[in-house]
Amino acid sequence: MSEIFQSLAEAWGLIITLDADLLEVVGLSLQVTLTAVLIASIIGLPLGAWLVVRRFWMRRYVIAVLNALMGLPPVVVGLFVYLMLSRSGPFGVFGLLFTPTAMIIAQVIIITPLIASIAHQTIRDLWAEYHDLLISLNTTRMQRIKALLWDGRRALLTAMLAGFGRAIGEVGAIMIVGGNIDHSTRVLTTAIALETGKGNFAFAMGLGMILIGLAIAVNLTIHILSRTERASIW
């Protein structure tokens, strides 16, 4: 029990002193995850909408695979990206291994199926509502996708936040492709893993508290900015 209190004190101490190392780690965590969420949304949201609007015979299988990929094991993704980016891999020439870019790539692979799948479910309901109208107005497929994404934007934030949640707490993949290098690729989750390994439980726990606080803060900010609960009509 004492470790919990000690960790709270430790976390508090880190925050009020604005520990430079801590800020760096938090900053990199946010930078990597937010970039990954942005890229994954740019791919995943239109993909989800496209799968709703476009009818083709493989559609059901693509959706099933997408749903399965939501549970993609991060360690495997990490290994895959590692092999792709390593010196002898196909993209080795870019020298991306053990950089934040590599971590972003891994996270994009992990959360794109998640975002696309949740977006697909949300947009499917909206499409059921809009279908007749958009057909009647003689819209092109692009116009339909645009209307569905725009009018479903608040619900789609949930998909993005789910992606954020998975990415910010992810450790397996970014540990492998980032390497947890101090001042270079160390983020909150990899730092926690390292400190736990070293036996600094209180410090690790303190970092964990900060991680949870960060996730809550980002979610709250998005909800307040988008007025999710206040604009009750859509």
Partner: protein, 243 residues
Amino acid sequence: MVEPVLPTSILPLVMRGVVAKVRGVRIVGPVDLTIDAGGFTVVIGPNGSGKTTLLRLMHGLQRVSAGEAFWNVSDDVARQHQAYVFQTPIMMRRYVVDSIAYPLILRGMARRAAHKQAADWAVRFGLGHALDRPAPVLSGGEKQKLALARALIRRPEVLFLDEPSANLDGSATREIEAILQDAQADGTRIVMATHDMGQARRLANDVVFMVGGLVHETAPVAEFFDAPKTRKARAFVNGDIVE
């Protein structure tokens, strides 16, 4: 904005032996029917007689399973010059002015111009007070007026309506009927399904009477109501139950 120029009317619409099937079950047809230019046609008949499906077939929302339906122009061109008002108005999750402007924006009109025009139409349709309100919170009558404004803003040559005043009270119905008469005076060909015999008499020039997915009788409105030719039409006009 790209204002499509029509060399000729998209009418007449000619349907020959048109059948609509859903999962192999025939719900309408075979129907032979011609919609000529000019006038106001009402489609009447008991529940489940296929009024809605007939309108959807004409508009292209329902696939033609057998037979053929063709406009005076290609389907692509015809589709751009018709509009449809649904029985339950479909409200997009947008503000009223955005909803009315949407069909214009789809055509490539600039946002500002489209909004200005949409505001004009909203005022004309008695929605001037509600421009900045979200469309889904409007009252039933306001939603239907929004749907009408959205349908008419492109100045369609043909307007289909599926019981537009089914859930409305007297004054809202009267407003909508006035809008429809104005639209007709502006040269819009109207085809409307309705349950309201008084409305059919007030608005229509001719009647399409449907029973069991088939067109049972077509006649000018006065003739249909005063001297229906078929037994079922007679029963229907008299208010008996027709199956």
